[in-house]
């Protein structure tokens, strides 16, 4: 649904059918939990090894976490406008009188677009093993993220299309990684990104049918669950004592 009430010239979107209100936030909360686990563990790896690749990976998932949190806030503002009647909500409301649930949704959407694209871009750079000292290329890619975010605000499909392109490249790289190392965990990671890729394809068409949004969210949930599996398998590993 594209709301006509356009604050600051920014449109606000809600694609979920009414009966699905809140369920999508729960799905995104699960994605946040999985992302936070990856942020935490890769940062721990960085602290132990001092290898920058772990820091970049942590940053990529931190960006994805911020993106999902923004989406949760933005959609909850529409789903539960009564939030403005709570103590914190009314204080914010009185301080920023111009802020409506729609403007919160619109601003959150921009944050969601930008950080999601940035996260996928960093992930693409890591998995493609692009040289991080090539700062001109990185500056150009960050600019590309800005432009994509800007255009996505006007045509939301462009955001999902850009995510789809980035995720296609990421998934292909993960598939190559799986072919190379033939590990079960790498297979789960490839499937996970493959599912998130498919969910983005569904998201492109949400404007045509709300049920597509539900399907996209469910596929995205599966993707993040698959992303959690290799992580759990790694931690199930028991110490191999001396033979």
């Amino acid at each position: 649904m594209l709301f006509n009430n356009i604050p600051y010239g920014i449109p606000s979107y809600v694609f979920s059918p009414k009966w699905f209100y809140g369920f999508d936030s729960i799905i995104e909360l699960i994605a946040v939990i999985v992302s936070v686990l990856l942020v935490y563990y890769s940062y721990k790896c960085y602290k132990l090894t001092k290898e920058n690749k772990y820091m970049y990976f942590s940053t990529a998932f931190l960006s994805i976490t911020i993106s999902f949190v923004a989406k949760i806030i933005g959609t909850l503002a529409i789903y539960r406008p009564t939030i403005t009647r709570t103590a914190i909500g009314s204080t914010i409301h009185q301080t920023f009188t111009g802020i409506t649930p729609y403007s919160i949704n619109a601003i959150a959407l921009i944050v969601h677009f930008f950080f999601m694209l940035l996260g996928f871009m960093i992930l693409f750079l890591i998995i493609s093993r692009l040289r991080w000292n090539n700062q001109r290329v990185i500056a150009l890619l960050v600019y590309f993220v800005f432009i994509a975010t800007w255009l996505s605000v006007v045509h939301y499909q462009l955001f999902y299309l850009t995510s789809f392109v980035l995720l296609s490249l990421i998934t292909y790289s993960y598939y190559q990684n799986y072919v190379e190392i033939k590990s079960e965990k790498a297979r789960f990671v490839t499937i996970a990104f493959g599912m998130i890729l498919v969910s983005q394809a569904f998201f492109v068409f949400v404007i045509y049918s709300r049920i597509i949004y539900v399907l996209a969210e469910l596929i995205q949930l599966l993707g993040f669950i698959y992303l959690l599996i290799p992580f759990i398998l790694i931690f199930k590993k028991k110490p191999r004592l001396a033979k």
């Binding site: 090894t49 790289s173 993960y174 590990s183 965990k185 790498a186 992580f231 001396a242 033979k243």
Partner: protein, 88 residues
């Protein structure tokens, strides 16, 4: 490929583990693929950190793996698997 400090420590500990948790310094020198001076430097560090211990067995010096060493190896193997699975 050139090994980093952590990889060298892990290789030393793996060599000890593969030998049943104890190894002679000469075997360790051969298995770790390090110079005598470098091995001495790393062995001292591992002794200091409590990952291995030095004991005399039939008047011969031997290195024994300690609990801390097993913990380090487990963490190292987890990081390696995480790195491989996520294409890092």
């Amino acid at each position: 490929m050139r090994r980093g400090k952590i990889e060298i420590i892990a290789d030393i500990l793996k060599s000890i583990r593969e030998k049943g948790g104890k190894i002679k310094p000469t075997h360790l020198l051969y298995k770790s693929n390090l110079s005598h001076a470098k091995l001495k430097e790393y062995a001292n560090m591992l002794l200091e950190k409590g990952m291995i211990e030095e004991r005399l067995v039939k008047d011969k010096k031997m290195f024994f793996m300690k609990e801390q060493g097993h913990k380090f190896l487990l963490e190292f193997e987890r990081i390696k698997e995480f790195s491989d699975s996520f294409g890092l």
